[in-house]
Structure formats: C-alpha cells, structure tokens
C-alpha cells in the first residue's frame, strides 16, 4: 500500500465512460488484477472521503511502465469532479488495495464476466491469465449499448465473447446470467471470475456453486477508508472451515471473495436460489442459529 501524488498523463472519454491514466510507478509496480485504488477528493468541498476505483490497467513494463488507469462513470459529486480532471493535474492516490483475483495454479479455461464498469478490472486480469497460458472467454453485459465496456478489446483478449444488454441494443437481450450456462458449457470453463453489480455477482456465484465450479467475485460496499481500519465495508463471509461466518472487510480480505463463501442472503436480503450443496464445509447449525431458517432455503 502506497500513497502517491500522481500526475495525470491523460484523461479520456468514450461513451458514458471516462478514464484517467496516472503516472504512479510505485502503485503500478505492485498492482495485481482485482485490486483497487482510493482517489482523494479536492479540499474545500463538503465531501471528504476518497473514492474507490478498480485498477483497469497497470503497466509494469514497456513504454507505459509505471502508469495506472482507472475507468469510471459519473454518478455523484465525486465522480462528476473526476470528469473535470485534465492532463498534468495531480491526484492523491492510495493503492494498490485489497486482495487480487487468485490465478489458477495450472493453465485452465477461465470465464470472465463483467457488468457495466465492473468489466474494468477484467481486461487486466485477462492479460495475466493469457500470459500464464490460460484460455480466456468473456461475457460483457450492461443496461444499454453505450454502457458495454470496451467490447472490441474483449474480442481481442478472448477466444469467445458473449455480449448482453438489458434493452437488446447490443448482443443478446437480457443479463449475463441468461447466457452463462451456454457459455460455460461451450467454453468448458473451469473457473469463473466476475465483477459488476452485487446482484449480478450473486446470480453468477449461485449458478457456479450449483455447477460445482469455483467462482471468484469482486464485490462493492461503501468504504470510508479502503485501508482496513474503519470496518464499514464488510460482507458476511462463511469461514473456510465452514464453522460460522463473520463480516470481512471488502477492502482488505476482499474485494475479491470466493463466490461460494459470500453469504448472499444475509448481505443482500431476499432469498437465494436453492443450491444442491451448501458451500463446502458449511454447517447447517450456523445458519439456523442466526434465525434465518433452514439451509438450503426455499
């Protein structure tokens, strides 16, 4: 974890997305796919906290060595302000933060699923997976065509790509989970990586658990510090040995968690789709002790 005053090398815009490339040698050097940075807001405003962004690209070698790119959409005062940032401005950035996507020990077939700006870290991940000999396939989904994140680059990176939009303006109409079973079968995927809206991650993780395929998902929670000291960003996670659960910090133990160990029902409410087997080693007593009824639910 480093804190750097970073010069903005370039600020770009495509569709609804903005991207900022920073000169951040210390952060770029350590950065791994799935990690994020915390960007400080300008002083003198009434919003104080840093804003978290996935690392979209980090160049450790080559002509762009020491640079870092984030990509974002404007949704509120912090991201609105970031859209006004220009080349040669300086940003105060802390990173790289959090647990990255774990890579498979041996090359295998990997399916990468991104929803909206959630696709941002997957290109960095895809490059690392390919460099280590894995096969990469992608599902890129969004509400509308202009929100589909870099569909052309997805094609360049993957053996096959499936695109979905909710309104059908690009690719198939529907969500990523509609095409997930077909893609997983066609690509003979052995590992699934996903980043996007939490509801999408839940659907992906639950399907993977049902199929007995490991999933690694990068979640989002409100973060005050991003550095592991405030405990605001927690997600309920089942312990590795299956004995109980605790709230783990999505900025420290996450943002990448095993999809099978996130207790989605407790976190996001509602009812989980029934799964054949509880997450590995999960004990029924732990669930009932919390007064949420029996496992599996439904």
């Amino acid at each position: 974890m480093n804190r750097q005053k970073c010069e903005v090398l370039s600020a770009k815009r495509w569709g609804v997305y903005h991207s900022i490339t920073l000169v951040a040698p210390e952060i770029a050097e350590e950065a791994r796919p799935g990690q994020f940075v915390q960007v400080a807001m300008p002083p003198g405003r009434d919003f104080l906290l840093r804003r978290p962004f996935s690392i979209h690209q980090a160049s450790r070698t080559g002509g762009w060595a020491g640079t870092l790119e984030i990509a974002f959409t404007a949704v509120g005062p912090g991201t609105e302000w970031l859209t006004t940032v220009e080349a040669h401005d300086s940003l105060d950035v802390v990173g790289p933060l959090g647990r990255p996507f774990p890579l498979p020990r041996a090359p295998t077939n990997c399916l990468l699923i991104g929803g909206g700006y959630g696709a941002a870290p997957l290109y960095f991940l895809g490059q690392d997976l390919r460099a280590k000999g894995s096969r990469v396939d992608m599902i890129v989904g969004a509400k509308t065509q202009e929100r589909v994140f870099k569909p052309v680059e997805a094609k360049r990176l993957s053996v096959s790509v499936s695109t979905t939009t909710e309104d059908g303006s690009l690719g198939e109409r529907g969500n990523v989970t509609d095409v997930l079973p077909g893609m997983m079968a066609r690509c003979e995927s052995k590992v699934v990586y996903a980043c996007g809206p939490n509801g999408m991650l839940r659907a992906v993780a639950e399907y993977c658990s049902e199929q007995g395929i490991p999933s690694q998902v990068a979640v989002e929670e409100l973060m005050a510090c991003g550095m592991g000291v405030c405990w605001t960003c927690v997600v309920p996670v089942v312990h590795r040995d299956g004995r109980g659960w605790s709230y783990e910090r999505s900025c420290y133990e996450g943002p990448v968690f095993s999809g099978a160990r996130v207790w989605w029902e407790k976190w996001l409410g509602g009812r989980s789709t029934p799964v054949q087997t509880p997450p590995e080693g999960f004990r029924l007593e732990e669930m009932t002790a919390e007064g949420v009824g029996t496992w599996p639910p439904g």
Binding site: L49, L222, M227
Partner: protein, 319 residues
C-alpha cells in the same frame, strides 16, 4: 529569534512524542497502516474498542457520507480481547508508538475483564474506556448518559489496572460537565471528548434509512463546533484534568482550536480515512503554528483563550 519548539506532551502521565493521536476506530491498532505511515511520527494510537468476546457488528450499509462528515454504524465489531491480545499484542510491543487500548463492554464486569487482559500487553501506555455503549444491565441505556453508571465503570477499571485510564464521553447528554465530574471523582485520570454524535440520514428515493443500523454516529468537521464547546465547558469546570479533544480535527488550525479550548492533546478520527498521514502532518503544522506565535510547547496554548471578562451570559438555545 524563533523559539525552539518541542511537541512532547505529558497526558495524565503518558509521554507522547506529539499531542496528535489517532482516535479509536480510525487507525486500527496501527498494523494495517504501518507500511505506509511511519508510526514513530504519530503522537499515539488509540486502538479500536475491544470487548471481552467477539462482536459481529451491524449489517451493511455501515457508512453514509453526509455534509462535511460521515455517519457510521459498525456496532463495535471486534474479534474479542483474546484474539486482540494474540494478534495485536506482539505488534503493539514493537510498534514504536505509544498505544492506548480502547475497551468496551456491556456491563461493569465486562469492562473489568478487558482491562485486566489488555494491561498485560507490554507497550500499552494507557486505557481508554469507551463508555458510549449500551449497558445491558440497565435496559441498554448508554453508560456515558448516566453519571452513576459511568462512574461505576471508571471506579472499577481504575482498580483493575496500573495504567492511566481515560474516560471517553459522548456529547449526546444534557450536561456533559456532570458526567465528566462523576467519572473524575470515580478515578479517571483524563477525558476523551467527544465520541460521535447520534445522527441519521435517509435515502429519499428508496424511502429508507441510509444505514443498516438506521441511526449511527456522526463524525468529521460537521461535529467540530460541538466538540470544541464540550472541551471548553469541561476544562472550565475541571481545569486540572487532562483532555484529549476529538471531533473534526483535520488540520493544525482545527487542532489548535481544541488546545485553546483547554485540551492537552487532540485525536484525529475521520481525517485518517482520507489523509492517512493526518496525525503526522497536523503535528508538524502545530509546530509551525507555535513557532510563528513565538511559543515553544503546545502546553503554552492551554488557558490562553481570551473570553469576554464580563460574567458569562446565560445560554440561549435557538437564537
């Protein structure tokens, strides 16, 4: 000629390299940030509150940003004192920074249990009793809102440890001076003023509270004026009791406000989140402020507040 400035501070017998500490719950035990912040430059660390047994804490969302501040509802999540001693103990012993352990409990007995356990960690220089938590023996009434319950905790904790004990009070009371006097009479060696203020924020599109816990603690510059007033009132009533001023300290000038109001030291909370070096930079800034004023120690600022000499006007609430 510029005066030689020394930032060394004696807080209730605790020797601090600077008068700027990290407030409880905003710096962990220092372990997470040690790679980025040189802890030897931090005045002191007050750890996140620890309880006898593990506490799972509140459901999310636990945080909501509000104008010039934030609300939090963590629910004192912590791994319990045994895990704390095991995991953070070795770190604290060699951290190179004075560490004050914040303790909490749901009964006087629970406070006592934790006090005994944490007093055994070498390197711990003091205890802060976070009495802004519910007392299960009194239908969940917050200790710090009841001078009798607050005094009970402090008289017990001070008997259980050889370390100096600070009482951390809430400003969500009718008369903070009354509570301060009660805990000092019970043996508290110093006071930490203030904890977060109870607040609430609502998502008007969803028709829902923005926190999972519905209400939560407000912190940041939004509460500074309330905190300064509390420090001022308490230090007027108890001029010999050392006070850590807490609430919206973000820079040297806001820290100096507290020192002028009567605090011996300050603790930085929310500012650590957006500026992890805040404690270090604020201490440096206080040094520069003192030098510019021809002063040599932070102690020189205490009691230097100039107030109207006429008898104090009655207080009007609301204009």
């Amino acid at each position: 000629m510029a005066a030689r400035v020394s930032l060394r501070t004696n807080l209730a017998g605790i020797q601090l390299p600077t008068p700027v500490l990290a407030a409880s719950g905003t710096f962990g035990s220092g372990r997470e940030l040690a790679g980025m912040v040189d802890l030897r430059e931090v005045g002191g660390i007050v750890t996140k509150s620890v309880t006898p047994r593990p506490v799972k804490g509140m459901p999310t969302p636990r945080m909501a940003e509000t104008p010039s501040g934030m609300l939090n509802a963590i629910g004192l999540q912590n791994p319990g004192v045994e895990a704390f001693v095991e995991k953070d103990g070795p770190f604290i012993e060699q951290a190179g920074v004075p560490v004050i352990v914040s303790i909490a409990g749901r009964s006087v007995q629970e406070f006592a249990e934790v006090a005994v356990m944490v007093s055994k960690i070498r390197g711990v220089v003091g205890i802060e009793a976070n009495i802004s938590c519910p007392n299960v023996e009194r239908r969940g009434e917050v200790f710090a809102r009841d001078p009798v319950a607050a005094a009970d905790v402090l008289s017990t904790v001070t008997r259980m440890t050889h370390l100096p004990v600070l009482a951390k009070l809430t400003a969500d009371v009718t008369d903070i001076v009354e509570v301060a006097q009660a805990v000092v009479r019970a043996g508290a060696h110093g006071l930490s003023l203030i904890n977060t203020l109870l607040g609430m924020a609502i998502d008007v599109d969803a028709f829902r509270p923005r926190l999972g816990g519905v209400t939560g603690g407000l912190s940041g510059p939004a509460i500074r004026a309330v905190a300064v007033r509390c420090v001022y009132e308490v230090s007027q009533a108890l001029p010999d009791v050392p006070i850590i001023g807490i609430g919206g300290v973000v820079d040297a000038r806001s820290a100096v406000e507290f020192l002028l109001a009567g605090a011996t030291a300050v603790a930085v909370g929310t500012a650590n989140y957006f500026d992890p070096h805040a404690t270090v930079e604020i201490a440096r800034g206080i040094g520069e402020f003192l030098a510019a004023k021809g002063m040599s120690t932070p102690e020189d600022l205490r009691g230097r507040l100039v107030t109207p000499s006429r008898p104090q006007e009655p207080v009007y609430l609301g204009g």
